[in-house]
């Protein structure tokens, strides 16, 4: 190795380490915020071109499944209409009972802030998106981000003045206290490098089947209860296994997000065992 190459290598490694230290101390955040501000119109434009093309390609790929999906959606629609009717009836009964008992609702005014998705982390090992809301908009680290259909997307993990990074639920570092809506079986939903979700620590005796809905539970204080995470796609595990092996698919289409909602009325709390 020539001395010039050696000097360059040491210089760039030194510069990298200095930048990492400054970045961890937050000293580079204003520059990063400014860089995202300058580049965000270009990113918006590029996404505006790419998303319709990706959507079209996805439709072409899935065209064979459309007929069977249509049939199953019709059946599901009918089933859901029946459920809506039943739920409306239950809701009015509940409201009447709440009025009689003077019970306060737990979340009477959930507040959301709409945000546009700017970019995805260029690192394939990290599942994170950048949104155009930040400290100035009142965002805090740990706030929960959902889709317009209110299924969970992830949590705010890094904040700048006008932008924020949201780590997606599919990221390998993500872990959410959850329960299966139908059987109330509890577990922890974790992400993976395959971009699929799994529920860990579901006991062998729990009743979990394909198509079941998995929602957040409030255990741990990091997520509000009742947000939809996904649908169970595979249940396995041998009789000698301590826990069921449950795989699920996120309900939100996380690779094609354009707009998301930040749940600003819920501030996560770190609960400590007594």
């Amino acid at each position: 190795m020539s001395s010039r190459l050696g000097t360059w290598t040491l210089g760039v490694i030194g510069l990298s380490l200095v930048l990492i230290l400054l970045s961890r101390a937050g000293a580079i955040d204003p520059f990063q915020n400014a860089f995202l501000s300058i580049t965000s119109p270009v990113q918006h434009g590029l996404r505006g071109v790419a998303d319709p093309v990706a959507g079209w390609l996805s439709n072409v790929r899935d065209i064979g499944d459309v007929r069977s999906e249509n049939d199953s959606l019709r059946a599901e629609n009918e089933q859901l209409k029946n459920q809506v009717a039943t739920l409306l009836n239950s809701q009015s009964q509940l409201q009447e009972l709440q009025r009689l008992l003077q019970v306060e609702q737990s979340n009477p005014n959930e507040q959301y802030l709409t945000a546009n998705v700017l970019a995805k982390d260029p690192n394939s090992l990290k599942e994170a998106i950048a949104i155009d809301r930040g400290k100035r908009d009142g965002l805090q680290e740990g706030m929960v981000v959902v889709t317009e259909g209110h299924s969970i997307v992830g949590t705010v993990t890094k904040l700048f003045d006008s932008y924020a990074w949201v780590t997606l639920v599919t990221d390998p570092s993500s872990a959410i206290s959850a329960m299966v809506e139908e059987s109330r079986a509890e577990g922890v939903v974790t992400g993976s490098y395959s971009r699929k979700l799994s529920i860990d620590f579901v006991g062998q005796g729990a009743v979990v089947k394909n198509g079941d809905t998995v929602i957040t539970s409030a255990i741990g204080g990091l997520y509000p209860a009742g947000l939809v995470i996904g649908k169970v796609t595979k249940v396995g595990g041998g009789p000698q296994d301590l826990f069921e092996s449950v795989t699920l698919e996120p309900l939100a289409s996380l690779s094609h997000l354009e707009t998301v909602l930040v749940l600003t009325s819920f501030v996560p709390q770190k609960l400590v065992a007594p």
């Binding site: 930048l19 990492i20 970045s23 961890r24 520059f31 790419a50 982390d121 260029p122 394939s124």
Partner: protein, 166 residues
């Protein structure tokens, strides 16, 4: 002037990588276009220019990513060191060298990012990351090396060489 062009090309490539490529995943991963462009630039145009464009590319990736600024720059350093294999004349063509360097650089780049994630406190499944992300990304990067190498080669007077043959 050539470095202004290089900066703009790397910036545009980084923006395409963060806003367009995630919509078109291949084997569940997206190519690291900036890294591939740095490899092609280094192999085609040599060490002197590489010493300038590699820090620029690394900074572009750092500023558009969620990890601390500087991590991507650190991970891109091996591009130049691996390209020095070319001085040993081990490969018959520069294109083969670019493909080999793209594969090896990608492996090292992803490994550095994994270590950085671990140091940041993330849980890292080494084997799963290797099988699901690191190797697929390296292969996809090699595939994308072909068109980008061709573009950089054309920009570096390749068209003139073709004309002189004709």
């Amino acid at each position: 002037m050539r470095y202004v062009f290089a900066t703009l090309a790397l910036l545009l490539t980084a923006l395409v990588q963060t806003s367009v490529m995630p919509a078109f995943p291949i084997f569940g991963v997206s190519p690291n276009l900036v890294l591939v462009l740095l490899v092609c630039w280094t192999v085609v145009r040599g060490r002197q220019e590489a010493m300038v464009v590699i820090p620029i590319g690394g900074l572009c990736l750092s500023l558009l990513g969620s990890q601390p600024v500087g991590v991507a720059l650190l991970a891109a350093v091996p591009v130049l060191l691996l390209s020095e294999i070319g001085t040993l004349n081990l490969t018959p063509s520069k294109l083969l060298l670019a493909l080999a360097v793209a594969f090896l650089s990608s492996l090292i780049y992803e490994a550095v990012l994994l270590v950085a994630l671990r140091l940041e406190g993330d849980s890292v499944g080494w084997l799963a990351a290797l099988v699901r992300v690191v190797i697929p990304t390296s292969i996809v990067n090699v595939v994308f090396t072909l068109p980008l190498y061709w573009l950089v080669w054309l920009r570096s007077g390749g068209l003139g060489k073709i004309r002189s043959y004709v």
